[in-house]
């Protein structure tokens, strides 16, 4: 994000809502994310003229059309590259990138990796519904093995990718996770992502009501959420559960995080780990948490360590260091020349 002059008058949700009719399927998780964004941007001090939403291809990538900011609906997988160009041309813009599990991790995996490692100052929202929606339901790189889809009638075979682990592995300095229906949790994550100087990566667990309904039910349903989600706050103990008595402990023998119950087997609150969003090793373990039965999925800011500068600012600073020291004319007219009388 960038320091922008705050608008004179407080903007509202209306200032960020375009006049275009939203064309997602009724009940799609995208609606909630869109509303949350339109609602939260005014609180962040954002202005429509300095905000750009850039997307690739897929259901989520229609997002820019519904924002009354600048928007660019690009081509499949390439939004990170377009966003990089936007930031190189004007580093002061607030750029949001909207992508999905197919767009961002399959066809665009390469670009996502590089925009993260370069640490271009953009906010990346990856809507993960574990399916290709717009092409009518094929399995995606995050689909659970065995997913039956038109292209995998006997069930998919390949192992899925964990988006947060991918991001951290690519060198992301900010990684967070939230849920489409979590209207109280999501604004905070968006605000943190926006405030982070550098590439911020947010995975949003999103429900595709038509092709992969309830794929996240085991994590997001109200009946299980308390036990299936670990809401992270840096500096706070990682305690969760409907009874508030479950916690995360580091098991030095297995070199892994484990779920323990406070009050059982002599476990006390002192045994529970404190979340530290600046600890990369912890972040890597938290990214994978939820993969085993009984483990919660980590929600909130998993990792956040800004660098001294961001990619586009470093590039522009380098240019500015030399800019104006020599003219094009001097360059062309230099070297070995001769005169014809």
């Amino acid at each position: 994000m960038n320091e922008m002059t705050a608008p004179a008058q407080k903007l509202t949700i209306k200032d960020f809502t375009s006049d275009q009719e939203v064309r997602w399927c009724p009940g799609c998780g995208d609606y909630a994310i869109l509303k949350c964004m339109q609602r939260t941007l005014p609180d962040m001090g954002a202005t429509p003229e300095n905000t750009v939403f850039i997307s690739g291809i897929g259901c989520s990538s229609r997002f820019p059309y519904y924002m009354s900011t600048y928007g660019f609906h690009t081509i499949h997988g390439r939004a990170p590259a377009v966003a990089t160009g936007v930031k190189l041309a004007n580093p002061d813009l607030d750029v949001w990138l909207v992508t999905g599990d197919g767009d961002g991790l399959s066809i665009g995996g390469n670009h996502l990796m590089h925009v993260l490692r370069r640490d271009v100052d953009i906010n990346i929202l990856l809507f993960n519904n574990k399916i290709y929606g717009l092409t009518k339901g094929q399995y995606s790189p995050t689909s659970d093995p065995g997913t039956r889809a038109p292209s995998t009638p006997q069930g998919s075979i390949d192992a899925p990718l964990n988006p947060i682990a991918f991001a951290l592995g690519s060198g992301a300095r900010f990684a967070a996770r939230t849920v489409d229906t979590a209207q109280k949790h999501m604004p905070g994550v968006f605000t943190r992502a926006h405030g982070f100087k550098g590439a911020s990566f947010v995975e949003i667990l999103q429900n595709c009501i038509v092709y992969n309904d309830a794929t996240w039910a085991g994590v997001t349903d109200k009946s299980v959420a308390a036990d299936a989600q670990l809401l992270l706050e840096s500096g706070e103990k990682m305690i969760f559960g409907s009874e508030g008595n479950k916690g995360i402990r580091f098991n030095a023998a297995s070199f892994a995080l484990e779920v323990v119950t406070i009050g059982e087997d002599g476990i006390t609150e002192d045994d529970i780990l404190v979340h530290d969003e600046t600890n990369l090793q912890l972040a890597r373990m938290l990214a994978e948490l939820g993969g085993q039965e009984g483990e919660p999925m980590a929600m909130g800011v998993i990792y956040a360590v800004p660098a001294d500068t961001t990619y586009e600012h470093a590039v522009i600073d380098q240019v500015n260091e030399y800019k104006g020291k020599r003219s094009l004319r001097d360059m062309i007219y230099s070297g070995q020349t001769w005169t014809v009388e």
Partner: protein, 616 residues
Amino acid sequence: MSSEIQVLESAVVRFAGDSGDGMQLTGSQFTTSTALEGSGLATFPDFPAEIRAPVGTTFGVSAFQINFGARSIKTVGDHPDVLVAMNPAALKTNLSNLRAGGILVLDSGSFTKRNLQKAGYEDNPIGTPMLDDYQVIDLDISKLTLEAVKEYGLGNKEALRCKNMWTLGLMLWMFSRKREPIIDWLNKKFAKKPQIAESNVAALNAGHAFGETAELNVSIKRYQIGAQKSEPGLYRTVTGSQALSWGIAMGGELAGLQVVLGSYPITPASPILHTLSGMKEMGIVTFQAEDEIAAICAAIGASYTGSLGVTSSSGPGIALKTEALGLAISTELPVVVINSQRGGPSTGLPTKTEQSDLYQAIYGRNGDAPLPVIATRSPGDCFEVAIEAVRMAVKYMTPVMLLTDGFIANAAEPWKLPDLDALEPFKVEFAETPAEGEEFNPFKRDPDTLARNWGIPGVKGTEHRVGGIEKSFDTGHISYEPANHQKMTDTRFAKIDGIANDIPLQAVDQGEDTGTLAVVGWGSTFGPISEAVKAARADGLNVSHIHIKYLNPFPRNLEKLLKGFDKVLVPEMNAGQLKTVLRDKFLIDAKPLNQVSGLPFKIEDILSAIRAELSA
């Protein structure tokens, strides 16, 4: 040794050796010295794709050819007058092209059993009838070099690396060229390694002195080639990649836009990325992307944001950029796309030249996706063509394909430095905040050019969304309406076709405006066609030369012009692409003359095709 100096009108010298022998350096330094004498010249660096191919092999031979003369030189010359062969492999691969009676300079020290074997010679050809047709100067250059640099204490390997400078010294003597610019250059280049600098200078001087004093086994004359008659002014040599990069920077200045280049390394286009990356003083931003697609997408993102997006590649890379090019066409954003063509298909011949991407440029996209195509014809011409590409891109809000090729990219020629202050600016104006109550429409068009409004992020009131989905002609919003798609497709064509009214009429380079035969070319075949037509006309043949710079749209008088000739011959370094486009657009019986050897045309081949066509 006789010191008699014979005056020549022009000469072709070819330096050939192992990839590690420094032939490109030798050639380019010979070029510098020649240019400073004011001679006309054209060069042809001809090197393998391998960085260091196995020593002594035929596929590891690297060559540099220069044609220079006391007149304007437009080609690299059909046949060398002098061939310098630093090893048996260089002799093997280059001898057949040497003019009969030509001078052959050999480093006999490298004609060892092992090297002869590697080159496929059973016996040493030196002293055999195989070389009877040539004036052979066989010298143990290796040994002579070692002696010359002995006092500087280099190791054997390092000392031998001065061989090329020894050879250069001899050639400078042979052609009465000055050593000083090269000595200056060596001292500058090796400023931090005085031992290397001194050794190389000593080798250069020794080679020169050898020519002056030695009794050579054949009578070798010294030659003098004077300055060409050129327009008065300040000159320098320039390669295509340099001139193109400078032209892009100049175009950015004239448009009042920041240049953002997105590029990915690829032969032979990389020098443009390198040159522009070294131009931060002029505010040029360069981005070495993760791949070709990201390179053009970043350029598109930059253009969307109000910079001038540029991307540069070669055929295989352009293929990868194709989908994104469609996005730039659909969103109507200016992007300059430079294709330094090379031999194809696929990886093809990375370091060899070809002009086989014309179809790709004009037609190679999904959907009906027109864009302007413009081509350079020589290294110096690149400057002006690059500026023109920028002008068309910003004036018409469109990606422009600029075609150059591997030959032009690497070749050098004398270039009269342009008066930059005399260039006409074409400053871009972005959309401004609309008046109260009015709404911004990104697809509102200029009635003359049909270019759309360029509104950029950061400006209040021009917020808009664009994308690759079809847009309403009236509002710019998404539209799937059948009639609208028809109208938008027609409009995109009309916009590009309309550029024909904004480019110069097609001129005839040589000859009459009507007649028996028109030889029509584009790109780097300009030189050989021009010389062939000149020779044919000197023989009294009725032939004209038409060189097309604007390939899409064509100049509006081109059809009428071509129809004024009984016959049209189209020499191309491809299997007949312009020929097909001309037939399609004008229903004329254009005849192809095709060569895809990875080498430029020879004048004689075009000349014989002209004769055949006229006698048919």
